[in-house]
Symmetry: C2
Subunit: 195 residues, 2 copies
DNA sequence: GTCTATAGCATGATAGAC
DNA sequence: GTCTATCATGCTATAGAC
């Protein structure tokens, strides 16, 4: 079980974050105690404070890391030419990225209200930047007459809500493969913005 | 501020539930204390237990009431003839109903994990029944060749996620009226299931 | 019906031994 | 780097006065 002593700074730190993400997703930030987290990691409660300043920092660092990963992964994604190709790339990227880390997606959405105001502002700005990526694609498509979208801001929020929702029901090894899910969602998105 | 004594069973009960719904939505179930709730109502903590057996019952009763309201309101909604008319009715109903009670929608989605298992099962069954209402419409439309939906179960979840998402950003008196929002969402839904 | 007071326990965070 | 022990505070729920 829990080791009694030793030096494991390099491996315990990541394990704390992994356990925190898992517990925050399962029980919610407010319902997770530092004792419970320590038990999950296999250390005593006091030892956690070697790896995080406090519980709030743990939450913020997880959410900030997730948003940074999201934006940099999208930045490096091959996107193709034209609004249609870029919209397809966005859909498939969003679904694929989110399905790889359902806990982080869940926490980043559900625990916004548990962030202290200064931390909230940081995460909110990153979330807005990501939304702007999609809205830019929609605007370009409307300008070129490829998409029929009466309000790009609303369509952006509607499509992200639809695509993100996949994480709430998708289970690995279930009825549908990821590729099949991506295909079906892309079909719906494509048609919904079509003329 | 808080009255010291008196008999107010008939009005304090509803006020407890209203305050609980507001606080649960704003801070999350786990982060709301019975002391904080009592302060919001304007009574002492002990007095709350005249109106609820415990904190869990408060959450469950709010969620159960919301789901019952949702299902009975939909049952009484005029729906028109044929899958297309019924799908439009569902979209407009869902948006309208949810925008009327954003706190209840938020709590019913976010606090599922804070329900005790037996309570969770009850709410989950009601949620499933509501989803089935939409899936039935989609199936009928597919059977009649009106809708092109490769997987009605997936489309059901995708559409509900999209429509419910409206509560996360819509603000009364904002840029768009409810009717306009309903129209734009219905346009997207109609196209997304079209041939 | 509401109050005050409190039982019994859990919490976040720190101090100091090893 | 981890442990044990602890502080100060907060929590849910109940008991009993009024």
């Amino acid at each position: 079980m829990a080791r009694k002593t030793g030096s494991h700074s390099d491996i315990t730190g990541p394990r704390v974050r992994e356990a925190a993400l898992r517990l925050f997703a399962r029980q919610g930030y407010a319902a997770v105690s530092m004792r419970g987290l320590a038990a999950e990691v296999g250390v005593q409660a006091g030892a956690l404070y070697l790896y995080t300043r406090d519980k709030q920092s743990l939450l913020f660092d997880l959410m900030k890391g997730h948003m940074d990963d999201l934006l940099s992964a999208w930045a490096e994604e091959p996107k193709g030419d034209g609004p249609m190709a870029r919209l397809e790339a966005f859909c498939r990227f969003h679904i694929g990225f989110n399905l790889e880390r359902p806990d982080a997606v869940f926490v980043s959405y559900m625990e916004l209200r548990n962030l202290e105001p200064a931390n909230f502002d940081v995460i909110e700005a990153l979330r807005k930047a990501y939304e702007t990526e999609l809205e830019t694609i929609l605007k370009e498509g409307v300008d070129e007459g490829i998409f029929a979208v009466p309000d790009t801001k609303l369509a952006t929020l509607a499509l992200i809500a639809m695509l993100t929702g996949v994480t709430t029901w998708y289970r690995e090894g279930g009825r549908l493969s990821r590729a099949r899910v991506g295909q079906i969602y892309w079909d719906m998105v494509r048609k919904s913005v079509g003329a």
